[in-house]
Symmetry: C2
Subunit: 430 residues, 2 copies
């Protein structure tokens, strides 16, 4: 197709009118579709139905060390669950704490703990005049909301296909003791589906922070969320705890994961992996905060999967369900948008999202237009701190939840909205 930039005013006007007509057709369809959040679809959830039978009233409710999982106790998780999640996270079970159902909650609590009590004897962040936080953009809105809630100054760092701009990260982290943390989704990033390169991970591990209580918040939410069975189409990520240890900075990172997008988002298991020093520090709080998390749900997950190989087989079934959805979106974007020079999009090998970059100043209008025709997208700007995308260009596409046919319709409409809004904008500028 011909680039919009090369079109004459007349050609562009023609295109604009054609798209207006197309758009009206969709408006007449009374659509009500949602591509806003990274939610698993019903078929994905059904894959985990066996979880509901993994512990019935006849089951042995004891963990392998004899603990009755129904009763009080066991602050950091039952051993077999630490092992399973350890395998999933590529960490030693001894470095793991199993929490409740939400890794977001674990991250919030970690920030809150540092805010009220400080990290490993350092000044509590609430006593500091300023705390700064690095936010690779576009990124995950709920991360940014935590650091906004605590009043930190969020400094945006551009993402590249290899990860955050590490020159900038190194410069900021090593020069400013007010910089206390960075949000990372290192594998199949939200929203791009990028995975940090080996060089990026090693540069993270070798950071020399000005602040002794600087920590990398490494949210490996999509660690086992490959879309393709072919290993050549699976991203690889260097394990960060090991890399930090090898670099002589064992305490530099808090690593998070959960089974929210493996079993059930509302009823999964969240975990943190970190160094012994950090664990000791965290347990001082944890022992005041709770007597223990839901051990039956831990046991239920272990009984359901058996082991990590079982979880991997399960993830392949998930991939079989959502891969066609990613491919459908890519196919429709390719068909309707390629060559037009009005947008770029990512083609991830895993994760939950596709990131779309429209022409500057168009994202909000595209999302509005889609909404008015019955398709809800993630709000434009959501991928930036404070919900403010300075370019007004990034839109997160979440293909997993709608049924495939709905998704096709939504993707078609989306491309029409992109073309309509882009043509209109270029016409105005002529």
């Amino acid at each position: 197709m011909k680039s919009y930039r090369e079109m004459t005013k007349e050609e562009l006007q023609q295109e604009y009118e054609a798209m207006k007509q197309e758009y009206r057709k969709f408006q007449g369809m009374s659509l009500n579709l949602n591509m806003a959040r990274g939610k698993p679809c019903k078929e994905q959830l059904d894959l985990s139905l066996g979880l509901m039978d993994a512990l019935n009233s006849d089951a042995d409710m004891c963990s392998e060390d004899g603990t009755d999982c129904r009763n009080y106790g066991v602050l950091t998780g039952i051993p077999e669950c630490k092992r399973l999640i350890g395998d999933m996270m590529e960490n030693d079970p001894d470095n793991i704490i199993i929490f409740g159902n939400s890794s977001l909650n674990v991250m919030f609590d970690m920030v809150s703990r540092a805010y009220s009590h400080g990290i490993m004897g350092n000044t509590p962040w609430c006593k500091l005049d300023k705390v700064k936080w690095l936010c690779p953009v576009p990124g995950y809105d709920r991360h940014f909301r935590i650091t906004e809630y605590f009043g930190f100054e969020m400094i945006t760092v551009p993402m590249t296909p290899q990860g955050p701009d590490m020159d900038m990260v190194e410069e900021l982290v090593s020069s400013d003791p007010a910089v206390k943390g960075i949000w990372c989704v290192p594998k199949y990033s939200n929203p791009q589906g990028y995975s940090y390169s080996d060089e990026t991970v090693l540069r993270f591990a070798n950071l020399k922070p000005a602040a002794p209580d600087f920590r990398i918040f490494w949210d490996n939410a999509y660690g086992v969320h490959h879309l393709y069975p072919d290993p050549a189409k699976q991203d690889h990520l260097i394990e960060i705890l090991g890399a930090c240890k090898a670099a002589g900075h064992p305490d530099l990172v808090y690593k998070f994961a959960s089974t929210s997008k493996i079993t059930f988002p509302g009823s999964g298991i969240a975990a943190m992996a970190t160094s012994e020093n950090n664990l000791t520090d965290i347990k001082k709080t944890l022992t005041c905060q709770t007597i223990g998390h839901d051990k039956l749900n831990q046991l239920r997950h272990v009984r359901f999967f058996g082991d990590f190989a079982g979880m991997q087989r399960h993830m392949q079934k998930q991939a079989d369900i959502i891969r066609p959805k990613f491919e459908a979106v890519e196919e429709i974007f390719d068909k309707n948008l390629s060559g037009l020079d009005i947008g770029t999009w990512t083609k991830p090998n895993g994760g939950y999202f596709i990131s779309f970059d429209a022409m500057d100043g168009c994202a909000k209008e595209i999302v509005d237009k889609a909404k008015k025709a019955g398709v809800t997208l993630t709000g434009a700007g959501a991928t930036w701190p404070y919900g403010k995308d300075p370019h007004d260009s990034n839109i997160r596409i979440a293909p997993t939840y709608p049924p495939l046919s709905d998704l096709r319709t939504a993707a078609e409409l989306f491309t029409i909205c992109v073309r309509l809004v882009s043509a209109e904008k270029l016409l105005q500028e002529m």
Copy 2:
């Protein structure tokens, strides 16, 4: 039996030697019993086994409003669970938030939230020079540990069978704006099993705090935990939210409860009930902290109990199991200690504990002696802030966990330890 105080030195010496001999017998039994924590016993847990079948893979996983409980969403709990817990807490479902598995965690988070962000627009407590907290004593060690963790100055208030000394509470709360909260276990209190009188509850509801952000932390952990089926032997507690509203102070109280000692301590449901203003305030944090709690466990509890009447029937079965244990302890204490003037103990109608007051300066030694003969009790001092009982007299007895025969042995040993230590102490003073 003759009071130790009336014994001659010779009589007391004789008693001391007799107890030493009795004690040695127990030492020879290689006991390994635990009366330390308020844990349900296996038979109690078995009553909830049906919970494990309440949601199997054939079950409808949707809440009554159509929400798929397996997926993300629903910040404050599914409606039918709010209704069930609302009935349990005697509160409108609209005033309830359902959380995860631990009410202790909910209380910790509430304090943490006030510490980092303040209550309803008031100065965050972390920005204040001093926060003071009222602690009725003896009380619950894990409450005190939260306020210790946040560095609050804990002011002890003596408990009476009608509740905390309200003259003192009123005086401190109304005169000092640094006083921000009070821990209350208003029904079948930990450790005495006292229930606050109508007058006490109404005086709480009518408090006129100097601090606008003073809150009553009303931990109604044992609200439905009666030991006796006879209503005449069931304590009654005025509902505090209603009382506060009627008194014109609707925002004065945060009320907590859980099913930890109704179904499974590790896998129950915790909840808070409070005013609309407080809920709005709390939800501002909660929406940053998590996407939602475990809705399947909420649904599981609703399906298991059906309704509150079902829960009450369930609690009667629990009572049938633990009532004989309370009665056995009381019988043995009566038999071995009454008239000796060396200790007093409570005879609660519900809850999980009996509170024992030894002669001043004897509690630690009694607990040590019991430990050396194989019976673990709650550490002496645990019922006081910082674990320091200034009288060294209070010991919390937790009769629920050991089997009845073990409990009898442990209670017998306990009384021997009390007599041994008391006789020794009185002899030293002669």
